[in-house]
């Protein structure tokens, strides 16, 4: 039984209707998002990132889509030009953090136990153990899960969802909330396309397009002979945009120049 969602529990008296007027007693109209508390902490996290000029990227996918492998290849390609750190989210083990640390990059493991996603509070706690000063890029590798992580703002600047070609090309149609939440879809393990006859990238792109978003989709192969140029280009673009939109940087430089 899943201890997080209560999926095997019997439901009690619940109304699934909207045409009932309030009864006697005190009625309080609220109209507040149920995740307002999470969103407040996410905003606070984003302020931390912005204060230090860090670009924070939240990586999401189903388990085994190749998030850690993509990060390893990214560190090998960019590690000598940018200062990178990683927050790893998994239910158990610090295996992924160990893989990242082996490349000389700081990595903090959050083990969520039975929780199926990271939330803003968990990230906030992690930030106090991970010095942001001097960092350019912070990757948050979310728990492998195409459902729950999509609902929780962590304070990231960009959401990236990986879709490996060993999965179905109809994943965007099956998990619309996740694929609507992302700013980029990375088709991963594309070096396997030659031996897989049931994944059609065109169909995957059409399913993504049907979600009413113009989300870009790029291809990567992160293992053996890494081919991740499109991913690296996208990252460089985001870093450049990030530098251009840091309001405090020009002001500080201006103050120094004018003094």
């Amino acid at each position: 039984m899943c201890q997080t969602c209560g999926c095997s529990l019997n439901t009690g008296p619940v109304e699934l209707s909207s045409d009932r007027s309030p009864g006697p007693g005190t009625v309080v109209e609220v109209l507040q998002d149920l995740l307002a508390a999470n969103d407040r902490v996410a905003l606070h996290n984003r302020e931390h990132f912005d204060e230090h000029g860090v670009l924070a990227i939240n990586l999401m996918s189903s388990p085994g889509a190749g998030k850690t492998a993509l990060l390893e290849a990214t560190i090998m390609a960019l590690g000598n030009r940018y200062r990178i750190a990683v927050i790893e989210g998994d239910l158990e083990t610090d295996n992924d953090a160990a893989r990242i640390r082996a490349h000389g990059v700081p990595a903090l493991q959050i083990t969520t136990g039975t929780a199926c996603h990271l939330d803003a509070h968990l990230i906030h706690r992690a930030l106090h153990e991970l010095p942001l000063a001097g960092l350019d890029l912070l990757f948050i590798e979310n728990v492998g899960n195409l459902v729950c992580p999509a609902g929780f703002d962590l304070g990231q600047h960009r959401n990236v969802t990986l879709l490996s070609v060993t999965e179905g090309d109809d994943k965007p149609a099956k998990y619309p909330v996740m694929f609507r939440a992302c700013d980029l879809v990375v088709l991963s393990k594309t070096d396997l396309l030659d031996v897989l006859d049931d994944f059609d990238p065109t169909r995957a792109a059409a399913a993504l397009r049907a979600l009413g978003r113009d989300t870009p989709m790029i291809r990567t192969a992160a293992r053996r002979s890494p081919a991740i140029h499109a991913w690296l280009d996208w990252l460089e673009q985001q870093l450049a945009m990030r530098r251009d939109t840091l309001p405090w940087l020009p002001a500080q430089l201006g103050a120094v120049a004018g003094s």
Binding site: C5, C7, L16, G23, E29, Q32, L35, A115, A210
Partner: protein, 123 residues
């Protein structure tokens, strides 16, 4: 599968409102859960049954409203009612659309039992 987390957040919000108003109990909680919120109403209801016990909402009825998914086309401005994974314009077929309903995940209303205030001291 994150319905328990969301339900905890809901009960925390409701408890705060009940305390602010000096309520003795919560009678009804009305929430909006759209199909694009990523939350399954039946699972949220199951979580509510477990988590409400012992708190001020222990006897409350949870009323869940599920607005259908509505989109507005950014090309032709037509509004269409549609499915969560088919967010293209029903009129012109355009894919540049904006969700105008169906992604809600919010506390709409709380109905409270508030004890009448004791009469002010006559002195």
């Amino acid at each position: 599968m994150h319905e328990l987390s969301v339900c905890r957040a809901l009960l925390t919000q409701v408890a705060g409102i009940a305390m602010d108003r000096g309520a003795s109990a919560v009678e009804r909680i009305t929430i909006e859960v759209g199909p694009l919120s990523g939350i399954e109403p039946a699972l949220l209801a199951g979580a509510f049954e477990v988590l409400r016990s012992g708190g001020c909402a222990a006897q409350a009825v949870l009323s869940i409203e599920s607005p259908p998914v509505m989109i507005r086309c950014l090309s032709c401005s037509a509004h269409s009612r549609t499915e969560p994974n088919r967010l293209v314009c029903g009129a012109c077929g355009g894919f540049r659309t904006q969700v105008v309903a169906g992604d809600e995940l919010r506390l709409r209303r709380v109905e409270l039992r508030v004890p009448e205030r004791l009469p002010a001291c006559a002195n």
